[in-house]
Subunit: 203 residues, 2 copies
């Protein structure tokens, strides 16, 4: 992970390869193919949508991986649920770290360790579905090298589905993605009135 | 189920009761309370988000119910997955029906039968989380009496979460909801190029 800036040459190379892949995909439109989906925007439902797709993938007997790029050790409902399922390789960023130091270096180290786990999945064709929950947050804070992340996602086995969630998806990721959904807030009645997050809905 | 038109008196009554409930909720902002969430719009991720929240609820050990208001007998990944979980009461509209007749009467009968199951959940305080997948579609086609649906949802036990998914949520449902998210399509690269729906993502 050397640079945080955009690299025009790698970008051009990726886009050229993407064009090739798209041609091949269109030629084989009825074949199975791995999609890159991005779920972003300020509305509710990004992560839960990713976890719903995970449930679908498990329903089809796929081998799946989850890496949650969220800081902290709080146990969420989805973590409790999916950790006990067969066919899910579940990781949370910061496992083995304490977050008490509030150190940028430790944040970066934790994100890079989580990305190493992700890389091993992205290079392993036995994984058919990988959920990178809140990866956009880690990218937003420059905890990870965007170019490296894009390359690793792009060079994955062709049948592998990858779902990325989180607000503020980087434009280069949107460009690379097959499908992008933006969740917008139409109404959030209690948001400004101190209603706490509800179990089963937000946690 | 007597009328399909909007009833101003029932609407005014519901809104008055909602105002009361909102005041009580704000006064007890830190208590557990059942939310009505609507996930709508043309983008991907509405149903999968509902199923992700279902996974969360199960992770918290909640008793849950699912009614899918989709026509037909095709087995989806989420159905295969969640039917085998403990704590889920899973129903699909049209169970016991054949869809070969393409008859409006049979569609309405199937929707009404599915709503009867929903009503029994909405009246049973042991259910903590109810997912009404694609209910908006059944409402859109006037298979169900909107006023009845709104009344039943509104009069549920106060701690019960209800999630409604589907395009074109009726405005009266949006009005009644606590939180509404619209999924918008930013990009759907292969939609118009004949790429088939992919297992684990769309099915």
């Amino acid at each position: 992970m050397t640079t945080l800036s955009r690299d025009p040459e790698r970008h051009a190379k990726r886009m050229a390869r993407k064009q090739e892949l798209m041609r091949a995909r269109i030629a084989n439109a009825q074949n199975e193919q791995g999609l890159l989906l991005v779920l972003t925007g300020p509305g509710k439902g990004k992560s839960s949508s990713g976890f719903g797709m995970l449930a679908r993938a498990l329903g089809h007997g796929m081998k799946t991986g989850v890496v949650q790029f969220i800081k902290g050790a709080f146990q969420t409902g989805e973590e409790a649920f999916f950790r006990q399922q067969v066919g899910v390789d579940y990781h949370v960023m910061g496992e083995g770290y304490t977050w008490e130091t509030k150190s940028l270096e430790r944040d970066i180290a934790a994100a890079e360790a989580a990305w190493k786990i992700t890389q091993s999945m992205l290079r392993d064709p036995t994984y058919e579905f990988i959920l990178l929950d809140e990866l956009n947050i880690a990218l937003r804070y420059n905890y990870l090298d965007l170019e490296q992340v894009l390359d690793d996602i792009h060079n994955r086995p062709s049948h592998q589905h990858v779902i990325v969630t989180g607000r503020n998806a980087p434009s280069a990721l949107v460009e690379l993605a097959d499908t992008v959904t933006e969740m917008t807030v139409v109404k959030h009645a209690f948001k400004d009135q101190g209603i706490k997050a509800q179990k089963g809905i937000e946690l």
